[in-house]
């Protein structure tokens, strides 16, 4: 994945520049942590890289495809087939069981048959140690379990890129460590590219590369208190 001079300006009476001229090259299978103080534009950059938001200017190549100029539906199709998201708050559909939540993207993509979707969803959840919780609804699970369901859902359509926004921000230490290991494993063992935004130095230390963002710009000199970049 490659980004060239990405700029995102929020149009308003006084326009706010969220992301200012960022260029970055990310290899397949790389685990990247985007760091920086609050309000530095980390999440905005993640939304741009995750095709949730369109840049005001600049280009973005994903899997060798230039995505600039794609309309909303085309971007949605790329997200469905190639990207997976994990957010700070679990963001599962409250009325659906864990299993149904994981099945949703597969049903929408419609590539697998119904029994295959069922099998794959069960396998994804079992692999993340949720075999006994598959039929529970989100409000019947712990924060760590919900976050693992969210990861399973992000993996549903076998994406090339996983984007995570503060995936451990809301978890206790043990769960956070668990999620960290899972994401690390995805990059190392399954060759998935993982981009995360994090405040957590321990989490960031597990990444292959750390990128710091200050006021919407990449800052190679910025150092998170307590650790070296």
């Amino acid at each position: 994945m490659k980004a060239n001079n990405l700029v995102r300006v929020l149009p308003a009476t006084i326009p706010v520049t969220l992301v200012n001229d960022i260029s970055i090259d990310i290899q397949r299978g790389e685990f990247i942590a985007i760091m920086g103080p609050s309000g530095s534009g980390k999440s905005s950059l993640l939304y741009l890289l995750g095709l949730l938001d369109a840049p005001t200017s600049g280009q973005l190549w994903l899997d060798g495809v230039d995505t600039s100029g794609f309309d909303e539906d085309a971007l949605a199709d790329v997200r469905l087939a190639k990207l997976g998201f994990v957010f700070q708050f679990h963001f599962l559909l409250a009325e659906f069981s864990a299993l149904d939540n994981v099945k949703l993207p597969m049903i929408r993509l419609g590539k697998l048959s119904t029994p295959d979707i069922d099998l794959r969803a069960q396998k994804l959840l079992s692999d993340l140690g949720l075999a006994e919780h598959m039929l529970k609804r989100p409000d019947q699970m712990s924060g760590g379990q919900r976050q693992r369901v969210a990861i399973a859902r992000a993996l549903a359509n076998d994406p090339v890129l996983i984007l995570a926004d503060e995936p451990t921000g809301n978890l206790d230490t043990a769960s956070a460590a668990n999620v960290r290991q899972i994401l690390r494993g995805l990059a190392t063992q399954q060759g998935k590219t993982v981009i995360t935004v994090t405040h957590d130095p321990v989490f960031a230390s597990a990444a292959d590369r750390r990128v710091a963002l200050v006021d919407g710009k990449l800052d190679p000199h910025w150092v998170l208190p307590g650790m070296a970049v």
Partner: protein, 419 residues
């Protein structure tokens, strides 16, 4: 099951109380529509039936609608000719050559889908009894043909139409005349015509229609007898026609008038004022029902609007996963469709229940007859189609706007707010 439908059902099930409220709006709207429509259209049909049964479907009279085209106009069709005060010709002597015209009208039997015709001659006579005098209308009829085109036979309370055949000097009079002159069956009456001819006729039948003017001023006798009495041998001045399908009266009347020239008035034309009233009643019916369903559709709008607001986060999740705006719209419109379908299904059931209840109501006629009258109810298939159609349109319409709003939700806006 499509995914959007699955999500839609889940949303509705999660909000049972609200869903029930919007459902009941549609159920009541549909049911009331059916009940009101059944009653209104039932009474309309009942009214038209009475109108159609009691009056001839087509009356051919010895008049012309307009004046003949004048020779000057025929000669110079393009000239500026203005002839004033041209009057339509009036055949005071009745319909000419009525046998051929009768044959022609009878020949329309096939093309008009069933037709009965009866000739009649009506004239004014003066009736004298015990020194009292009353001008009445005397109609000469042929009992065999008249009974096919008129309900007069059903209204006869004493004697019969056939008594006219048995006694050529017989006359049938209305109950009003009987009461006024203190008459009875078998009494003799003096009938005087304008030509000064006086005959004695015997009452062989009494009818009662409930229409005072008719019961006092109308009498019937044998056609042949009236022809001699009025000194118009072999003449008639009216054809009374009944059709199997009364709604073809206008067309058949036009065919007859075009062919034989005499004015042919269909019941639709003759009762235009009443038909207009019925039309206005139908407009009122549909306005009331539309109002009910508009109110009901606000319930749906409200429910689905609330769901969309509550589900902004879900919409953001689904969109981040790769759902299109169209998929999101599908979800919420499906919710409207589900509410509309279930609502109209229960509405039809409740409506049928209301119709059954209305059907149980019997009213004792406040007038003479002691028959119990049932409310006239219409239970045609079309009103169910209209009711369901209205319900579906209002539910889909009410869900479309919140759905469109839901489809426009931008995931990043929600994620920024939440994270």
């Amino acid at each position: 099951m499509p995914l959007s439908l699955n999500i839609a059902i889940t949303h509705l099930m999660a909000r049972k109380r609200q869903t029930l409220v919007s459902l009941s709006g549609i159920v009541l709207g549909t049911a009331f529509f059916l009940a009101v429509s059944a009653l209104m259209r039932g009474s309309e049909a009942d009214f038209i039936k009475r109108l159609v049964d009691n009056s001839p479907h087509i009356t051919v009279s010895d008049e012309y609608r307009g004046a003949d085209i004048q020779p000057a106009t025929l000669q110079w069709p393009d000239a500026a000719i203005n002839i004033r005060n041209v009057k339509p010709q009036t055949e005071v002597r009745g319909i000419r050559g009525h046998q051929q015209k009768l044959a022609f009208i009878e020949s329309l039997d096939q093309s008009s889908g069933g037709l009965r015709v009866a000739p009649a001659l009506t004239g004014s006579v003066v009736l004298t009894f015990a020194g009292r005098v009353q001008a009445v209308s005397l109609t000469g009829i042929v009992p065999a043909t008249m009974r096919q085109v008129s309900t007069i036979e059903d209204k006869i309370t004493a004697g019969s139409l056939d008594a006219l055949n048995a006694n050529p000097n017989g006359i049938i009079v209305g109950q009003g005349l009987i009461d006024k002159f203190k008459l009875a069956m078998g009494r003799n009456l003096n009938i005087a015509t304008s030509d000064g001819v006086v005959r004695v006729m015997k009452i062989v039948g009494i009818f009662r229609t409930g229409n005072a003017a008719y019961d006092e001023g109308q009498t019937y006798a044998l056609l042949k007898r009236v022809q001699t009495l009025l000194n118009r041998p072999n003449r008639i001045n009216r054809f009374v026609i009944k059709l199997t399908d009364p709604y073809r009266a206008r067309d058949v009347a036009a065919v007859i008038e075009q062919r034989i020239g005499y004015k042919s008035l269909s019941w639709l034309e003759a009762s235009e004022d009443i038909m207009n009233v019925l039309f206005i009643r139908n407009i009122i019916l549909f306005s009331v029902v539309t109002a009910i369903l508009v109110v009901a559709s606000f319930g749906i709008y409200n429910t689905i609007s609330t769901i969309v607001m509550e589900k902004h986060r879900d919409i953001a999740i689904l969109k981040s996963m790769g759902f299109h705006a169209r998929d999101i719209r599908h979800i919420f419109v499906s919710e409207g469709v589900i509410v509309g379908m279930i609502g109209s299904a229960f509405g039809v059931v409740l409506g049928l229940g209301l119709m059954w209840l209305l059907g149980q109501v019997t009213i004792k006629s406040p007038f003479v007859s002691n028959d119990l009258v049932h409310l006239p109810l219409y239970n045609g298939f079309d009103q169910f189609v209209i009711a369901i159609g209205f319900a579906m349109i209002s539910s889909v319409g009410a869900s479309y706007f919140p759905a469109r709003k839901g489809g426009r939700v931008h995931p990043v806006d929600i994620l920024r707010g939440a994270a």
